[in-house]
C-alpha cells in the first residue's frame, strides 16, 4: 500500500512539474507581445504584468488537459468509431422514423416562423448564417468530397456578387434574372480556374487557388473602370416580388424565405450528388487518385465538375449577398472569408452535410450572440482549426459513408417483398 501511494505521489509530482515547465515556457514565449505595449508616438512603454500571471495559470491548467486528451487520443485510435456516443445517437435517430420525422417537423416549423417570432435584426443574422450554410455546402463538394483544398473559394463568391451588382448597375437587371447568370458565371470561372490546376498535387493546389483568389480581389480593387475599385458598388436593388412594394422589414422576411428555399435546394442537390455516380467518383478521388484512375474514372472531368459545381454555389450566394447588403466592395472578399468558410467545413466535418450545417450555424451565430467575445472570433477560429485537426480530424459530425452489404438470402427476400408490394 505504502509503495503504491508513493508511486502515485511521485507520478502526480512529475505531472505537476511538467505542467509548471510548460507554464514557464509559455510565460517566456508570450512575454514581449502580451506584456509590453509600445506607444510609438509618445515613445513610452506600458507594462501589463497581470497578463503574464493569467498566461501562466492558463498554460499550467491547459497543459494537463492537453496531455489528458493526447493520452485519450492514443488510446482512442485503437477503438472503433462506431462505438462513440455520437454515432450511436445518430444511428438511433436515423433508424427511428417517428423521432426523426418529429424532429424534422419541429425544425421546419421553427424555420418557417422564425422571422415572425424574432426581430428583423435576428432575421438578418439568420440570413447570413444560412448563406454560410450554402457556402459551406458548396465548398464541401470541393474540399470534403473531392479532397481538393481550395483556398480561393471566395473568388467565386465575388464573381457572383459582382455579376449581379454590375448587371444591376448597368442594365438594371433584377435579382431573379441575375441569379442564374451569376451562378453560371461562377460555374465558368470554376472551370476556367480548375483547368490549369488539375495537374497539381494537394498542397500546391491550395496555394495556387489562394493566388487566384487574391488575383481576382486585386483586379476588382484596381480596375476602376470595370468594378469601381475599392469604393465598390452601392444601391443594388433588393429582390422583387411580382411588382409588390415591400417595406424594409418585409424585404428582410422575403429574402429570408428565398434563402431558406435555396438552402433546402442546396441540401437536396448536394445530398443527391454525393450518392450519385459522380459523387462516389469524388470520394474515390479523395481517397486514392491512382487507384481511382485505375478503376477507369476520368480524373480531369471529375475534378473539373467538383470545382465548377462548388463554384456555382458560391455564385448563388454571391448574388444573395449583393441583394442583402445592397452594397459590395472588394474588402468583403478577402482570404479571411475563404478561411472562415473552410473552417466551417473542417469544423463541421468534411464530407458531412449535417456537419457543415451545424458548423456554419455554430461559427456564425455564436459570435453574433456572444458579442463580448466577438473580437476573439478569428482567434478562436484559428485555434479550433488546429485543435479539431489534432483531436477530431473528422469534425463535429462524422460523414456517414453509404455502405452496401451483400447478403444473399436477405436481399432476395427483400426483393420478393418489394415485388409483392408493387404488384
Amino acid at each position: 500500500m505504502g509503495i503504491q501511494a508513493g508511486l502515485i505521489i511521485r507520478k502526480a509530482a512529475s505531472e505537476i512539474f511538467r505542467s509548471a515547465l510548460v507554464s514557464c515556457w509559455f510565460m517566456f514565449l508570450t512575454f514581449p507581445i502580451m506584456v509590453i505595449k509600445v506607444n510609438p508616438l509618445e515613445r513610452t512603454i506600458e507594462w501589463r504584468w497581470m497578463r503574464l500571471v493569467w498566461i501562466g495559470v492558463a498554460a499550467f491548467l491547459l497543459s494537463f488537459v492537453w496531455r489528458y486528451l493526447m493520452m485519450r487520443r492514443e488510446r482512442g485510435s485503437a477503438r472503433d468509431e462506431s462505438e462513440s456516443w455520437q454515432a450511436r445517437l445518430g444511428k438511433r435517430i436515423r433508424n427511428d422514423r417517428k423521432t426523426s420525422y418529429a424532429l424534422l417537423a419541429a425544425l421546419g416549423l421553427f424555420m418557417v416562423l422564425f422571422p415572425f417570432t424574432f426581430s428583423s435584426y435576428q432575421t438578418q443574422i439568420m440570413i447570413s448564417a444560412l448563406m454560410y450554410v450554402m457556402l459551406g455546402l458548396g465548398l464541401n463538394i470541393v474540399v470534403g468530397l473531392a479532397g481538393l483544398l481550395d483556398l480561393g473559394y471566395v473568388a467565386f463568391y465575388a464573381v457572383g456578387a459582382y455579376s449581379y451588382a454590375l448587371l444591376n448597375h448597368h442594365f438594371d437587371l433584377g435579382f431573379w434574372a441575375a441569379l442564374p447568370v451569376g451562378a453560371s458565371l461562377a460555374f465558368l470561372f470554376g472551370i476556367l480556374l480548375g483547368f490549369p490546376v488539375l495537374r497539381l498535387r494537394g498542397d500546391y493546389l491550395a496555394i495556387v487557388t489562394l493566388g487566384f483568389g487574391e488575383i481576382i480581389r486585386l483586379i476588382l480593387e484596381n480596375w476602376n473602370e470595370f468594378s469601381f475599385g475599392p469604393s465598390g458598388i452601392a444601391g443594388i436593388s433588393r429582390p422583387a416580388l411580382f411588382g409588390v412594394d415591400l417595406s424594409l422589414d418585409q424585404h428582410t422576411i422575403y429574402l429570408y424565405y428565398i434563402v431558406v428555399a435555396l438552402v433546402l435546394v442546396t441540401i437536396f442537390v448536394v445530398g443527391r450528388l454525393r450518392n450519385s455516380r459522380i459523387g462516389r467518383a469524388w470520394i474515390a478521388l479523395r481517397e486514392d487518385e491512382v487507384a481511382c484512375q485505375a478503376m477507369g474514372i476520368d480524373k480531369t472531368r471529375t475534378k473539373l465538375t467538383a470545382f465548377a459545381l462548388g463554384a456555382t454555389w458560391a455564385g448563388f450566394v454571391g448574388c444573395i449577398f449583393a441583394a442583402k447588403t445592397t452594397f459590395i466592395n472588394p474588402a468583403s472578399f478577402t482570404f479571411m472569408e475563404s478561411a472562415i468558410i473552410l473552417s466551417i467545413v473542417v469544423l463541421g466535418g468534411m464530407g458531412s452535410i449535417i456537419g457543415v450545417i451545424v458548423g456554419a450555424l455554430v461559427l456564425i451565430l455564436l459570435p453574433e450572440y456572444l458579442r463580448a467575445f466577438s473580437e476573439y472570433r478569428m482567434l478562436v477560429f484559428g485555434a479550433s482549426m488546429v485543435l479539431i485537426m489534432v483531436f477530431r480530424p473528422q469534425g463535429i459530425i462524422t460523414g456517414v459513408r453509404r455502405r452496401y452489404q451483400f447478403r444473399l438470402s436477405e436481399s432476395r427476400e427483400a426483393q420478393r417483398e418489394k415485388d409483392a408490394a408493387s404488384a
Binding site: T30, I36, R201, I215, I219, N222, V346, Y376, M389
Partner: protein, 300 residues
C-alpha cells in the same frame, strides 16, 4: 539608367528578404513535406519582437547598431522559440495523418497568430525606429541604393553561405539530408527524427526573424498582417526555385524580387501582387518542380 539600377537594387533587396523566408519553407518542406503556412507569421512575430525589444532597450539608453544587433538577437531567439512550439503543438501530432490535415492545422495556426498579435498589440501600423544611420561610404551611390538595402543583401548572402556550409558539413546537416531523403531509413540508422525536425523549424524561424527585422528597419513600419503576404510570396519564391532546394530558394527569391520590382517600375504599381501570384501560377502549371527542383515520380 539610374532608374534601372534603383529598380535593380530594390528588386535585389526584396528578393533577399523573400529568399530568407523561403529558406525556412524549403527546409521544412524538404523534411516533412508540409507547407508551413504559419511561417509568414513567424516573420511578423520576429518584426514585432524586435520593435518591442528595441523600444524597451532604448529606454535603457542603447542606440545605433548595438541596439539593432541586440533587438535582432532577441527577435531571432523568440521566433525560433515560436517555431519550435508551433511544430510541437500543431504539426507533430499530425505526422501520420492525412495529407491535408497538417496544412489545415497550419492555416489555423496562421490565423491564430495573426489575431494573437492583433489583440495583444494593435491593428494599426507601428513605426519601426530607424536603427542604422546611412553609412558614410554609401554616400556616392545613395540615390540608387540605401544603406539598409546593402545590409539586407549582405546579411542574406552571409546567412545563405552559413546555412549551406551547415547542411553540407555538420553532423546535424547530414542528419537533415538523410531525413529528407528517407525518414524511416534515417530512423533505423539511429537519427533522432524529432530533434532533426525541431532543429529545422528553429533554423527556418530564426532566418525568417532576421528577414523580418531587416525589412522592418528598411521600410520603417509594421502591422500584424505583414506576415501573410510576405509568407505567400516567399512560398512562391521557394516553389519557383524548386521546393526543397536551398540554392533554389535563393534563386527563386531573387527572380521574384526582380520581377516585382521591374514590373511595378515599368508597367504599373497597382498590380504588384498580381505579378507575384501570376508568376506562381505560371510556374506551377508549366514547371511544377521549379527551376532547380527535381521531378519525383510517385510510387504506388
Amino acid at each position: 539608367m539610374d532608374y534601372f539600377f534603383e529598380l535593380f537594387f530594390g528588386g535585389l533587396t526584396r528578393g533577399s528578404i523573400y529568399a530568407l523566408i523561403a529558406l525556412g519553407y524549403t527546409m521544412v518542406y524538404g523534411i516533412i513535406e508540409l507547407i508551413n503556412f504559419a511561417h509568414g507569421e513567424i516573420y511578423m512575430i520576429g518584426a514585432f519582437t524586435a520593435l518591442i525589444a528595441a523600444s524597451a532597450l532604448s529606454l535603457l539608453g542603447l542606440t545605433g547598431p548595438s541596439l539593432l544587433i541586440l533587438a535582432g538577437l532577441i527577435a531571432v531567439v523568440y521566433s525560433a522559440a515560436y517555431g519550435f512550439t508551433i511544430e510541437k503543438i500543431a504539426y507533430k501530432p499530425l505526422r501520420k495523418a492525412q495529407r491535408l490535415s497538417p496544412l489545415i492545422s497550419a492555416i489555423g495556426m496562421s490565423i491564430f497568430l495573426q489575431n494573437y498579435v492583433l489583440l495583444a498589440q494593435t491593428s494599426d501600423f507601428l513605426s519601426f525606429p530607424t536603427l542604422v544611420d546611412e553609412f558614410a561610404f554609401m554616400e556616392p551611390v545613395s540615390h540608387i541604393m540605401r544603406s539598409s538595402e546593402l545590409l539586407i543583401v549582405v546579411t542574406t548572402a552571409i546567412a545563405t553561405v552559413l546555412l549551406t556550409l551547415f547542411i553540407k558539413f555538420s553532423r546535424m546537416g547530414k542528419a537533415m539530408r538523410a531525413t529528407a531523403q528517407d525518414k524511416t531509413m534515417a530512423m533505423l540508422l539511429g537519427i533522432d527524427i524529432n530533434r532533426v525536425i525541431s532543429v529545422t523549424f528553429i533554423i527556418g524561424s530564426a532566418l525568417a526573424a532576421v528577414g523580418g527585422v531587416l525589412i522592418s528597419n528598411h521600410i520603417g513600419q509594421i502591422n500584424f498582417y505583414i506576415g501573410f503576404i510576405a509568407g505567400i510570396k516567399a512560398f512562391t519564391a521557394a516553389v519557383l526555385g524548386g521546393i526543397g532546394s536551398i540554392p533554389g530558394a535563393v534563386l527563386g527569391g531573387l527572380i521574384l524580387g526582380w520581377t516585382e520590382s521591374f514590373a511595378t517600375g515599368y508597367i504599373s504599381s497597382d498590380y504588384e501582387d498580381v505579378f507575384a501570384f501570376g508568376l506562381l501560377v505560371f510556374i506551377l502549371i508549366f514547371r511544377p518542380a521549379g527551376i532547380l527542383g527535381r521531378t519525383s515520380s510517385e510510387k504506388v
